[in-house]
Symmetry: D2
Subunit: 135 residues, 4 copies
């Protein structure tokens, strides 16, 4: 169990885009993953909210890691869907993904993305997607 | 018509995340938009392919602009779905979104994302989503 | 609160397709709804499993009612996504939908569909969608 | 090619739910399928429009057949997403699905659903989903 989580951290650390955007893999379990991103001005869109593309990156990648941990190997998100439910403002974003159904080579995961401020945590987006083991 | 396209270019230029990630709004019409991104190493995941989060940003934003142009104002993507169909490798990515149904305040758009190399253009992802006029 | 639930039951009873397919509105709360369907041979596809279209009907409609209850009025599902996670076999299907985010005119709902047998209840599908108040 | 289309017609004819709901497989090619449904009162919801569940059945099944034809075998829809864009009224519904990306065991398909009247054909819904070969 520890091995697969160490493997997840190593895979995450070897993703140049995750480094570039500034995300961290802050929690993981045998079937879940949490990514955290400190909100910077360069993450924003024209109205000062976090760009949807940043939120969709977090959903995509948290889903990949939750699914990969549940499947026990190198995995990728083959598809997902996201609903944005509130403009994302605050100090940081937290994406929590959970495998809800796990087969031999495929897992279905759901992800909640929260905007966190000093004293609040508000749901910003809900996502659902498919993770498959990389061949 | 020219005014709304100039407005779209101005909105795009005022998106810090689009600048940060290096995307360009390369085409627009009264109901479509094309974004282009030169692929850099910092866009990649652990296997050297473009990270799904970059592709989902392109889909989200191309859909926003196609929908906003069709609706004639400031708009945002309220939800979308993406299927990744092939690992994205090449010189650049092109995302082409088209409004397929346009109401007073809501448009449904589809988007195709291609990976382009010296001599080929390959479909990497298909997306579909909802754009709503910002209040 | 009772009024809106009585209204939900009345709306459900006035849906000819829900009667035709044989579904029942078996539970409801201020932001959730449960539909139940006794599995009959005419619900099946070529392999003897319940047809995906039956499951997607349950997801669509359970989401509509959960969202409509949360929004407090006549509502419709404007879009949804479904992942089938296991062939549906058993005595009946139960679809449980919950509003996860509720605005003035729009709610985002998630739905789980279970296949129930004498002694087991197995997750068959997961769905997520948008409900809007009918004008 | 004819063989796979004859196989598709045979599979369709052996789906009890497709018979029950009254759908027909009216066209097929090597990578596309068209289903047609004559609208009856029992297909409707409380406002007299065709129920979303009927439309989602058509999307699900047209996608299955387009993908199965492209993959050359018995297939199933593993997930899909649908946007309803207009209330469905008219004489019949036509769902046209096309495989947009075809791998060895998986195809991504898009589907358009039209409501057809004596003198008009109006887009009612857009769908996109994944089809996988049955093992």
């Amino acid at each position: 169990m520890d091995d697969i989580q160490a493997f997840a951290r190593q895979v995450f650390a070897s993703q140049p885009f995750s480094q570039f955007i500034g995300a961290e893999l802050t929690q993981s379990s045998e079937d879940s993953a949490e990514l955290t991103l400190s909100i910077r001005d360069h993450h924003k869109q024209q109205h000062g909210f976090v760009h949807g593309g940043v939120i969709s990156y977090l959903a995509d990648n948290a889903i990949t890691f939750a699914g990969g941990l549940a499947l026990g190997g190198n995995a990728l998100t083959s598809e997902f869907k996201i609903n944005y439910v509130r403009p994302a403002v605050g100090l940081y974003l937290v994406a929590r993904a959970q495998a809800r159904s796990v087969g031999k080579r495929m897992a279905i995961c759901q992800c909640e993305i929260y905007a966190v401020d000093d004293d609040s945590e508000k749901l910003c987006a809900l996502a659902q997607g498919t993770v498959v083991l990389a061949v």
